[in-house]
């Protein structure tokens, strides 16, 4: 680029829309990355095999960057949807700060970097799982199913459920019942969590042509789905307590958390929209709030059990 062309761009006002480093970072969906980092870290820490802290740090970084890369690929593919919906209209591509081709390049480059570095730092299985997660989120979810089925959030949840399994694979080099149950916990938690939100937030997914259960099948059916997925979620959450990474502390606390979550889902199922509108969706909002702490506390409890196990206080 010549100086003249740079000056021309600057003079026609485009410089105010020029991307800063933060805009490129925003492509990586930092808030999603924080959940990925936490759950992957738990998967790594609770594994029965210890690894060097620096290798653990690099592994978590690779998983976070890989998740961010899939976020960038998602923003590249969904730029048309993002520009229509209010919630996403300020993302870097619809805001005109980052070119779609830049997002594609960054997404592909970071995907390659994170997978290869994870392989070099740890093992093939962990790297393969990370590669599959990126592929699953970017291709299976974003490109294929998101616009095709109202069950999109269920399938998309699988991509968010892989990080603890990758963390476990980093340490052990394998997959086990423990890592499969950690995967299942996030997988089963995602639908009731998201649909509780969908019940009280007016969405513009319909305007963007994305089928959401609340709009394709109606809100009563969505309430049924919340209850059914919660029924699947409870045994998974409690079952984790009987594995080698669980224990009495996890089990006792998980029992209370699951009882509360099921009670919330049950109340939401009992209501209709007239009752919900009368109290401004108070129960739906409560279920959404407790769903946030539900997942955080379950993984936090696994960390507590890991600490107790390291002190020799393990019952099973």
């Amino acid at each position: 680029m010549t100086d003249a062309s740079v000056t021309d761009v600057a003079h026609n006002g485009a410089q105010t829309n020029e991307a800063g480093f933060g805009d490129y970072f925003a492509l990586l969906k930092p808030r999603v990355m924080s959940l990925v980092v936490f759950t992957a870290l738990v998967g790594l820490v609770v594994a029965p095999v210890g690894i060097h802290p620096f290798i653990g740090f690099v592994a978590i970084l690779c998983i976070a960057v890989g998740a961010g890369a899939s976020g960038a690929l998602n923003m590249w593919w969904d730029a048309d949807i993002d520009s229509v919906m209010k919630r996403t209209s300020r993302r870097p591509i619809p805001a005109g700060k980052v070119e779609p081709s830049e997002a594609l390049g960054i997404g592909l480059a970071l995907s390659g970097f994170s997978v290869i570095l994870l392989f070099l730092a740890t093992n093939l299985l962990a790297a393969a799982l990370l590669a599959f997660t990126i592929f699953f989120y970017a291709v299976i979810y974003s490109m294929w199913l998101k616009r095709a089925t109202p069950q999109n959030i269920v399938i998309g949840g699988a991509a968010g459920a892989f990080p603890p399994m990758i963390g476990w694979a980093v340490a052990t080099g394998g997959v086990s019942i423990e890592s499969a149950l950690m995967f299942a916990l996030i997988f089963m938690w995602t639908p009731p969590h998201f649909w509780a939100l969908a019940l009280f937030v007016r969405s513009d997914y319909g305007d963007a042509g994305v089928p959401m259960l609340t709009e394709t099948h109606g809100r009563p059916i969505t309430r049924n789905h919340i209850l059914v997925y919660t029924l699947f979620l409870v045994p998974v959450a409690l079952g984790l307590g009987f594995t080698s990474i669980g224990g009495p502390v996890y089990l006792a606390a998980a029992f209370v958390l699951n009882l509360r979550f099921f009670y919330g889902a049950w109340l939401v199922w009992l209501r209709d929209d007239a009752a919900a509108e009368a109290d401004n969706y108070a129960t739906e909002k409560w279920l959404f709030r407790i769903s946030l702490s539900y997942l955080f506390l379950h993984f936090g409890l696994l960390l507590v059990e890991a600490a107790l196990h390291s002190l020799g206080w393990s019952i099973w």
Binding site: T2, D3, A4, V6, A10, Q15, E18, A19, G20, F21, G22, Y24, F25, H52, F54, I55, V58, L61, L117, L120, A121
Partner: protein, 68 residues
């Protein structure tokens, strides 16, 4: 027209350039750190001691088997 050393582009893109620079420095640090950790954690340092521009037949497994 050449870009001057003090062109406004430099100050405008300072944050972005600084960010990319820090990422690259971080990447170098990670690769260096990984190398140090991997080498120090080898059970047998002979696994790391290989050809160094001079043939080292004593490092070959067949050589060590022959001496035993």
């Amino acid at each position: 027209m050449a870009i001057k050393v003090e062109h406004e582009l430099h100050s405008r893109r300072k944050g972005r350039n600084l960010g990319v620079g820090l990422v690259l420095v971080g990447l170098v640090g990670i690769v260096f750190g990984l190398t140090v950790v991997k080498v120090l954690n080898l059970e047998n340092i002979a696994q790391f001691e290989r050809f160094d521009h001079v043939a080292r037949p004593q490092l070959e497994p067949s050589a060590s088997e022959g001496t035993q």
